[in-house]
């Protein structure tokens, strides 16, 4: 007796998949817009149908993976990122391992790579996957500061801050901050740029814990804060606590070092008056000047180094707070106002946002 060929739908489905997804006519004419054979188009469907196991067994994954790798390699080659992103005529003068403080959105952290000092700029480059993490041209650099801080291991290390003319500050942690600084300053001087040593900048790692989305840190100083406690009988007593006073684009707030939290929080609009006065405040500061920030709830007192206090008053009285929000260009890492980046593109490397490109096309 002869066997009869069968087609039952249940088992048949898988037989079908083998055929319908992998075989049959496809087109390679210019009229074609999609073919199951092209990775990414057909893949979702195959993945949905086959499950990972089958995909591995059938080699679908390998095909796709190979295609992806080929594409990525091609892309890298096209962008020329497989080698150091050096410009024509750019020469490397100094190289050392280092990290760059990156803080954007929900992610912040030190990103490692190699710091290169060239005859044009300083940049931090990560090889795998290749990415330019930070770049600053000498003409954009205003000055530097070396900050001594405790690192994660509670050891004192040197951080190199580079202040840019647009107000942005890049924070680098090279294995030898002084060596990098010397190389940059020497090259900048040779080229006729000045690079001043500046006071340690407004960067505070704690800031990432309390800054809201879109809020920008403008200034930060070490400040004591007089915390009022009310003793029975209505006699007000104050206790000086150590911390840092932050001025952000939206508020003034004080970070209590010991409690590791914001203990004083005042929105910029609620500030009545700010001044430095010498008041009898009791305790160690009885005869010292203090910043008094008046607001509806009363006066808040902060005290610290005189220069720091003057700077705080100056910043609170200036327009520096209302500066534009900046972002780094996703292609070359140059800092620029967000709106400019989004609508006009990057002035440094010519990057244009995909949305704008689409509109133009």
């Amino acid at each position: 007796m002869a066997m009869e060929p069968k087609r039952n739908t249940n088992a048949g489905l898988v037989d079908l998949l083998d055929r319908v997804l992998d075989k049959g006519l496809v087109l390679n004419a210019d009229v074609l817009i999609s073919v199951a054979g092209i990775p990414l188009l057909g893949l979702n469907l195959k993945a949905a149908l086959a499950g990972m196991d089958t995909m591995l067994k059938c080699g679908i994954w390998e095909d796709w993976d190979a295609a992806q790798r080929a594409w990525a390699t091609e892309e890298r080659r096209r962008k020329g990122l497989d080698k150091l992103p050096l410009e024509e005529g750019e020469k490397i003068l100094f190289r050392t391992f280092g990290t760059h403080w990156y803080s954007k959105g929900i992610y912040h952290g030190w990103r490692p790579g190699y710091i290169y000092v060239t005859n044009r700029r300083i940049f931090l480059y990560k090889k795998e996957p290749s990415e330019l993490l930070f770049t600053a041209y000498y003409e954009d650099i205003m000055g530097y500061a070396i900050e001594k801080k405790l690192n994660v291991a509670k050891k004192e290390t040197d951080y190199l801050c580079i202040m840019l003319k647009n107000g942005a500050i890049a924070k680098l942690h090279p294995s030898d901050a002084y060596a990098v600084k010397d190389a940059v300053v020497a090259e900048m001087n040779r080229l006729g740029f000045s690079c001043k040593e500046m006071s340690a900048p407004v960067i505070d790692e704690n800031a990432d814990k309390f800054l809201k989305k879109g809020e920008r840190l403008v200034h930060c100083e070490k400040m004591w804060h007089l915390e009022e406690t009310f003793a029975p009988g209505g006699i007000s007593r104050g206790t000086w606590k150590a911390g840092r006073l932050h001025i952000t684009s939206e508020r003034v707030c004080w970070w209590h070092d010991f409690d590791e939290r914001i203990a004083f929080d005042l929105s910029l609009g609620d500030i009545g008056a700010v001044g430095i006065e010498t008041r009898d405040l009791g305790g160690f500061a009885s005869t010292r000047p203090a910043i008094i920030i008046s607001h509806r709830g009363g006066d808040a007192c902060f005290s610290g180094d005189v220069n720091s206090m003057e700077k705080i008053v100056e910043v609170l009285g200036s327009k520096a707070i209302e500066g534009e929000e900046t972002e780094t260009c996703p292609s070359c890492g140059t800092e620029a106002p967000v709106q400019e980046l989004l609508t006009k593109g990057c002035m440094a490397c010519g990057w244009i946002s995909p949305r704008v490109r689409k509109l133009v096309a």
Binding site: P5, D15, R19, L25, S34, A48, G59
Partner: protein, 259 residues
């Protein structure tokens, strides 16, 4: 550029433009676009591929795609099936132009495949049975087996592993030879046979057996019974089982080059 596009199911021999009803993917109206005596079965869609991560939805689409091709086979005889998700951007005229440009190739291909359909043959074997058969016919392996019984447990374990590996090699070379022989046998009946290299689907019924080979066969209508007889013979052999499915549109045999 218009936003019109046509999803392609298959090419059939037909000179008339017909409406085949809402049998397409997601109940789309399927119709023919004819050029001379060759027609494309299509539905109108936006110029975007069908894509989803939803298994049930994807399965539905594939079944619907295949359903249209099955209906076409019933109505028009041999068809040239398209792979899933082949979409041409443009209106009916664009398709007509494409049909015209490729007329000779499509025409030849329809002729070559006329009155033929694709069948799938899977042959399964019982590993244990084959292993004991191979073992009993191989002196080297038999000697090794005897040696195992005389050894201490540790050594016996290592030798047993050694034997298992050698036996596995012997069985698979044996099975390969057998598969080749079956392939030739089937090839004498079918117009074309392709041994599928990828692992294909194994239904529950055959789970205790191992897959020896999967053949896609292009078979003339008049030869299906002959093939069935030959397969029944194989199916009756000790330790073997055959799964015979079809008919399918000639997915594995349609010439995909150059259209």
């Amino acid at each position: 550029m218009s936003d019109e596009a046509k999803y392609l199911y298959c090419i059939a021999r037909e000179h008339e433009e017909l409406q085949l009803g809402n049998i397409g993917i997601e109940e789309k109206m399927v119709y023919t676009i004819a050029q001379r005596d060759v027609a494309a079965l299509v539905h109108s869609c936006p110029p975007e591929p069908y894509n989803t991560g939803d298994k049930a939805l994807a399965e539905g689409w594939v079944l619907e795609h295949s359903y249209v091709i099955d209906q076409a086979m019933k109505k028009f005889g041999t068809v040239l099936p398209f792979s899933f998700d082949v979409i041409i951007k443009g209106n009916d005229d664009v398709i007509r132009e494409w049909l015209d440009r490729n007329y000779e190739r499509l025409q030849k291909e329809l002729e070559r495949l006329a009155d033929r359909a694709e069948y799938s043959v899977q042959i399964f074997y019982d590993y244990d049975m084959y292993a004991s058969k191979v073992l009993s016919g191989n002196c080297d392996l038999l000697a090794l087996k005897e040696k195992i019984d005389e050894q201490s447990r540790g050594k016996a374990y290592l030798l047993q592993r050694n034997l298992d590996l050698k036996l596995k090699d012997a069985v698979s070379s044996n099975v390969e030879k057998l598969a080749e022989q079956f392939g030739l046998e089937i090839g004498s009946i079918a117009d074309e046979v392709k041994a599928e290299e990828r692992h294909s689907f194994v239904p529950e019924k055959y789970k205790d057996k191992k897959l020896m080979a999967t053949f896609s066969c292009l078979v003339h209508r008049d030869n299906v019974d002959v093939l069935g007889l030959a397969l029944e013979k194989i199916n009756c052999l000790d330790g073997l089982a055959v799964r015979f499915t079809g008919p399918w549109a000639p997915f594995s045999f349609v010439d995909t080059g150059g259209v």
